[in-house]
């Protein structure tokens, strides 16, 4: 084991992030692992950040970069909402993120998925990967763990899902990705956004379904101290 862990390495969110549209809104999902090299700096982070009442963003890549970009965009959107006199659209939020990502591409390392609901377009997902491209998609995946999900989504994704179908899909996908990606782990957080508002959900890591070759969670070996002495064997 490498004991010379670089505890001063920049915090990176290995991450799996997902955004999915359904019939009536969007579901955003993410894992909760923030790593500093091989050390898990935060095993219960919240990578789904609020930008406005109706628009949220999933953050991946450098934790610092993604936080700063979100903070700037939240500030701009707040002013924009005041001027406009009504909630900002998802498209505007995504565009502001894109401009920051593109114009500072040499200095930033962050992939973002913007998702939300507005009264003009309904539920929308926009993917903004590393270079600052802006692409509107029916669903988007990002982060290191997403590599393991491309085939899964090709097979499992369908148009016009219900809210529950979409949320189950997201939880399953993040869970699969946590199983295979070392840089993703912890719990699964989801945020559902539609015309009625926003709902946050939490799925503890040890309650997720076990996949191929995954073992049952091992409890602490300290349980042995508290367990009753074994019965003597009768020969």
């Amino acid at each position: 084991m490498d004991l010379n862990m670089d505890l001063n390495a920049p915090h990176s969110m290995g991450t799996t992030i997902i955004g999915v549209t359904y019939n009536g809104g969007v579901v955003l999902g993410a894992d909760s692992r923030t790593s500093t090299g091989m050390y898990v700096a935060n095993r219960a982070s919240d990578k789904i950040t609020q930008l406005t009442d109706n628009v949220y963003v999933c953050r991946s890549g450098s934790a610092a970069d993604s936080q700063l970009v979100s903070d700037y965009v939240r500030y701009f959107l707040h002013q924009h909402t005041i001027q406009l006199g009504q909630p900002a659209t998802v498209k505007v939020a995504a565009n502001l993120i894109r401009l920051l990502s593109y114009n500072n591409k040499n200095m930033l390392e962050t992939g973002l998925i913007v998702g939300g609901w507005d009264k003009y377009e309904g539920g929308k997902i926009y993917g903004i990967p590393l270079g600052g491209t802006l692409i509107e998609q029916p669903f988007a995946i990002g982060g290191s763990g997403s590599s393991y999900l491309y085939g899964f989504f090709d097979q499992a994704w369908k148009e016009g899902m219900t809210k529950d179908e979409a949320e189950q899909l997201v939880v399953k996908a993040v869970s699969l990705s946590i199983a295979r990606d070392g840089a993703s782990g912890g719990v699964v957080r989801t945020v559902v956004i539609n015309s009625e508002g926003v709902t946050r959900n939490f799925y503890p890591g040890d309650k997720l379904q076990l996949w191929h070759e995954e073992l049952e969670p091992q409890n602490s070996l300290l349980d042995i101290l508290n367990s009753p002495s074994p019965e003597p064997m009768n020969i």
């Binding site: 924009h80 406009l84 498209k91 505007v92 502001l96 003009y120």
Partner: protein, 249 residues
């Protein structure tokens, strides 16, 4: 009915004892001396029309445009000092492009009107700038539907369903109020606007005029454009006929 503000009207940064800024009121007079400009909001879009008084027989017809497109979805008709109007249109175009670049979507008409009004108002705050001598009628079609705004030299801007500025504005407003705009389509609106402009044109005082019209409606795919030639001719013919019928009475 004009009031003299002797002593208090030399600078736009001076209030009169009864709380008026005379320079701004004088700027509005410049607008009142210009040819009539009308805008109406029909159920499916906006129609704008301008009575372009022809200064000289040697001017090429179609030149000296008074209605300008600010963005794909909106346009502006100007009354008053033409050169001042050019400045305002340029500023509006710039605001619209910057908004689109920064926010990724066309500027909402309400926002555009506010920015134009702010800019016009700005020039009433400093002694080293004079107010714009222009009235603006701004019509646009965004995702909240068709909207019509009017901006005055003071920087006030309101939203209207029918607006008129210039020489014949009183008569034009009376005519507009008679119309049933909520039931009217833009096609019908074009004819009505032409009739009104012909009607309020003062044959005695002013000689010839040229009619310039534009619209932004469902039929034009929510793009601001000149009214198509055949429709314009149809409108002019209908207006002339209506005028003759009135004279015949």
């Amino acid at each position: 009915m004009s009031s003299i503000g002797t002593g208090y009207d030399l600078s736009v940064t001076t209030f009169s004892p009864d709380g008026r800024v005379f320079q701004i009121e004088y700027a509005a007079k410049a607008v009142d001396n210009s040819g009539t400009v009308i805008g109406i909001k029909c159920k499916d879009g906006i129609v704008m029309g301008v009575e372009k008084l022809i200064a000289s027989k040697m001017i090429l017809p179609g030149s000296n445009r008074r209605i300008h497109s600010v963005h794909r979805h909106s346009g502006m008709a100007v009354a008053g000092l033409a050169a001042d109007g050019r400045q305002i249109v340029a500023r509006a175009k710039s605001e619209a492009t910057n908004y689109q670049s920064g926010y990724g979507e066309p500027i909402p008409v309400k926002e555009l009107a506010e920015r134009v009004a702010s800019y016009v108002h700005l020039c009433t705050l400093y002694w080293w700038l004079r107010p714009f001598g222009c009235g603006i009628i701004l019509g646009g079609y965004d995702r909240d539907g068709p909207q019509l705004y009017m901006v005055e030299p003071s920087g006030i801007s309101y939203r209207y369903f029918g607006a008129a500025i210039g020489k014949g504005k009183q008569a034009a407003k009376t005519e507009i109020e008679k119309l049933n705009l909520s039931e009217m389509t833009c096609r019908e609106g074009v004819i009505e606007v032409a009739k009104i402009i012909y009607k309020v044109h003062d044959e005695a005082k002013d000689k010839a005029f040229e009619l310039e019209m534009s619209w932004v409606c469902d039929e034009s795919k929510q793009q601001h454009q000149k009214v198509p030639d055949e429709l314009l001719e149809e409108a002019k013919a209908a207006a002339r006929t209506a005028l003759e019928e009135m004279d015949a009475d």
